[in-house]
Amino acid sequence: MSYIIQNPGIVWGLLLEHIIITGSSLLIAIAIAFPFGVLVADKPRLATPVLGFLGILYTIPSIALMILLLPIVGLGRQAIIVTLVVYAQVILVRNIIAGLRAVDPVILEAAHGMGMNSWQRLWQIQLPQALPVILAGVRIAAIVDIAIATIGAKFGAGGLGELLFQGIAQAGRYDKIWAGALSVAALALIVNWSLLALERAFDTTRRIRRSERRQLAIKKG
């Protein structure tokens, strides 16, 4: 804690780096996963092998994947961003597919009957319904990326992992270990909570239940 109070500038700078690395990876990952997931979701013959392949990539420990990618992408921030995009991809695509598939086919048929075309059904029915599950994917991907970015410091990506690795490289600098661990844990917990709140806000079943309760209260009142 003392290190954070004495060097707020350093810790703040590393925190910003950490946020930039994970944030940009997450945005790139979403930009790829979203159209891809939507495209693959209703094609089980394509979805199964894709999910299988992504699952294998996900099982490989992040430090091993970074090392395996090292000859291809090299050291530094870009290399780490590639790894982060890969890991986020798995979680995002899986949740986008699961979310879209969980939409009740009866609702889709009703939409079809109302004369909606497939584009309208996607944007007005499927995506709003799938949003909480998709957001859950974004949350988990963010948490995983924050954790992996910490390891990325060893590969020259910067970020809060720097403090951790400096703390063990310089004997007795437990204050740096504490500073790094506390700030990265705080970042992960805050991101988790905020995205969890967002997930709940977009949960339609919850919203319906809430408004039903409200109407009931009005009637009773």
Partner: protein
């Protein structure tokens, strides 16, 4: 890439004895952490699944623990236990706890209450219901939790070399120290294969214990 892989292979065969020892250490580290975590979390999960109040707090704590990056948990062991094997296995055990606890809790909580009532109606005692009815139904979900924990701990045990645990991660720390990609691969490739193998074996096991529908 191909040439570096070849050099990595040569390095591993040249240092065969050390490599096998590192592999053994790695497996021991993973096995120990998983064993202890399972011994703690399965009974604890059964307790939390039976009480809403205990579950809410315990599960919340473990869920938060899960969000904290593993590297932070590993390194935080150093101020207390130094750069040592003890640090590594305490941290690895802590990392293995959340998935096992959360899955055990869910497994016992989601058992159809009608089934439990039938067992009760048949005159089974609490112990009998637990061992003969609930445990077999919960087992696949518990194993799924252990599977998640296994893959995570295999990965984290590699990072544990940074805090002096030994295991396959020594090639990662050495590779970084010597700026040698080949040595890095001597750590990375076996660890990746180990994780994939563990995932495969555990998902087989999970399917094997699945009670017939």
């Amino acid at each position: 890439m191909g040439e570096t892989l070849l050099r990595a292979y040569e390095y591993a065969t040249d240092h065969q004895e050390e490599f096998l020892r590192a592999l053994g250490e790695h497996l021991l580290l993973v096995g120990l952490a998983l064993g202890i975590a399972t011994l703690i979390c399965v009974p604890l999960g059964i307790v939390t699944s039976r009480s809403r109040a205990v579950a809410a707090t315990v599960i919340n704590i473990f869920n938060s623990l899960r969000v904290v990056p593993s590297l932070a948990i590993l390194f935080l062991a150093i101020p207390y236990f130094g750069l040592s094997l003890t640090s590594a296995w305490i941290a690895l055990t802590i990392l293995a706890l959340p998935p096992i606890l959360i899955n055990t809790d869910t497994a016992f909580r989601t058992i159809n209450p009608a089934i439990k009532e039938v067992a009760y109606g048949m005159g089974m005692t609490g112990q009998q219901r637990l061992w003969r009815v609930e445990a077999p139904l919960a087992l696949p979900v518990i194993i799924a939790g252990i599977r998640t924990a296994t893959v995570e701990v295999i990965a984290s045990a590699t990072l544990a070399a940074f805090i002096g645990s030994g295991g396959l991660g020594i090639y990662v720390t050495r590779g970084f120290a010597l700026y040698d990609n080949a040595i890095l691969l001597v750590g990375a490739v076996p660890v990746a294969l180990l994780a994939l193998l563990a995932e495969m074996v555990m998902s087989r096991l999970q399917r094997a214990v699945q009670p017939p529908a």
